[in-house]
């Protein structure tokens, strides 16, 4: 079943064309990893998927329905789509526990007791149940990112978007975050991951998309793309990063 389908997506910032004619589809339960040089439009594409950026043209179908012109209903759509940011963006005045249980309590009217239970279970899942009572500033970057993943999961999304989740982390902290993401993929979560972690792409992705200059240059299984890339630009990019 196709969960997400992007058709002829384009995006301009002023006169600058950052996405052109992007077409892709994500099956339910699939893990799609998007790679490419900086400025290639991968983050913009991800941000278009949950409408943090309004697309300039084209369609984005979520479970068959176009979501690019929802108006105020966009909030209902976003509840189904979790997002994890490069810079974590935890709420600094809320404890770790409140960061995770605030949205389900406010938006889904989950009773406080249930929301807290769910939040503790999620924190346990990301290995941070002992940090429930502290504020985000007391955590390392890797821990903050894992809390951010738990926060997104608390809304029980059907699709998770990861925008370079490990790019702002010290190298030794990357592993824990990738481990959580791997576990999530193993549980069947549908994921679109923008990353520079080629190891993760190779091990976890069902499909790898290579973007450059605002459009999709090549997409294939990780084995194909890493061992025999078809396009010259894919080849030279991989030669530089691997």
């Amino acid at each position: 079943m196709v969960m997400l389908e992007i058709k002829n997506l384009s995006k301009f910032f002023g006169d600058l064309e950052v996405l052109r004619d992007v077409n892709m589809a994500v099956e339910k339960g699939e893990v799609v990893v998007v790679i490419g040089p900086s400025g290639s439009g991968k983050s913009t594409m991800l941000r278009c998927i949950n409408l943090l950026e309004q697309p300039s043209g084209g369609e984005i179908l979520y479970q068959g329905k176009d979501i690019t012109h929802l108006g105020r209903q966009v909030t209902d759509y976003r509840k189904h789509v979790g997002m994890v940011f490069q810079r974590f963006n935890l709420f600094p005045l809320k404890t770790v526990l409140d960061n995770v249980c605030y949205a389900p309590m406010k938006l889904n009217k989950l009773p406080a007791k249930d929301a807290k239970e769910q939040a503790m279970a999620l924190l346990k899942k990301v290995g941070l149940e002992s940090k429930a009572g502290v504020y985000p500033a007391a955590l390392s970057g890797g821990q903050q990112q894992r809390v951010a993943i738990a926060r997104a999961l608390a809304m029980q999304p059907e699709l998770m978007l990861f925008d370079e989740p490990t790019s702002a982390l010290d190298p030794e902290l990357v592993g824990d975050v990738l481990e959580v993401m791997k576990q999530l993929a193993g549980e069947g979560m549908t994921m679109v991951v923008v990353t520079h972690e080629m190891g993760f792409a190779r091990d976890v992705a069902d499909r790898v998309i290579f973007m450059d200059g605002g459009y999709i240059v090549e997409e294939n299984t990780p084995v194909e793309i890493f061992t025999s890339p078809k396009n010259d630009r894919t080849r030279s990019f991989l030669a530089r990063v691997l």
Partner: protein, 231 residues
């Protein structure tokens, strides 16, 4: 020169105590109204409406470009005349009069509201845009994000500056002597002109202001340090 502080204090003291009551009332009411006004102006200026932003920024320029004392006079004398004049022109007979202390509260709300709105506005702009995006991505609306994730930390970061404005406002209540509010300065002035204990009276007055404002600025410094520690 002979000084008689004892006599001055015995007579002026109780009167000043009443005056402190008025000062505290006007300060609290004026500051609370100013905070609300500041928040509304700040939100208005940050809204998507260019027109609203323009109108508000002209208004702020008007207020910041004229002395607070002139504004008090304007509210006390001119505004009632304008209201009565306009309603007379429309065929109604009104006799609006504003009580002096009410004029003080309105004046502080407008004047301090404008100054503090700039504080709040820059505090809002200083909040990481990632906070907004995180809120939106979870499914909150723009309004929920603004009041849930942007304004609380922005206000919190503004608290030290608010403390300074509060102390300034207390001292500025002395301007209200000019529109006949029975606050500390007017009471002292009357007392001094009746008894000729000029040196004593004004010295006591200055001390009373210090007794109020020094602990307050200490308190605001304490709060500031507290806030820093929690984060």
């Amino acid at each position: 020169m002979e000084l008689n502080f004892q006599k001055a204090f015995a007579k002026l003291g109780p009167s000043l105590l009443d005056g402190v009551g008025i000062v505290v009332y006007i300060t609290l009411a004026g500051f609370a109204c100013a905070l609300v006004a500041a928040l509304l102006i700040a939100i208005g200026r940050l809204s998507k409406s260019r027109v609203l932003d323009r109108i508000l920024s002209i208004f702020i320029e008007l207020i910041r470009g004229t002395p607070l004392l002139v504004q008090f006079f304007y509210i006390y004398y001119v505004v009632p005349m304008l209201i009565n004049g306009i309603s007379a022109a429309m065929g109604y007979h009104t006799n609006v009069q504003l009580e002096a202390s009410t004029c003080g509260i309105i004046g502080f709300a407008i004047n301090y509201g404008c100054y503090m709105s700039e504080v709040i506005r820059s505090a809002i702009l200083a909040i990481d845009p990632g906070q907004r995006e995180a809120g939106l991505a979870l499914g909150f609306s723009e309004g929920q994000v603004l009041f849930g994730f942007i304004i609380p930390p922005a206000l919190r970061n503004s608290v030290p500056v608010f403390g300074n404005y509060l102390v300034m406002l207390i001292k500025d209540t002395s301007l209200l002597a000019m529109i006949s509010v029975q606050e500390l300065l007017l009471r002292t002035k009357t007392f001094a002109s009746q008894t000729f204990l000029t040196v004593e009276a004004y010295t006591i007055l200055a001390l009373v202001y210090l007794v109020i404002s020094i602990p307050l600025s200490q308190l605001s410094r304490l709060v500031e340090r507290r806030l820093k520690r929690v984060r």
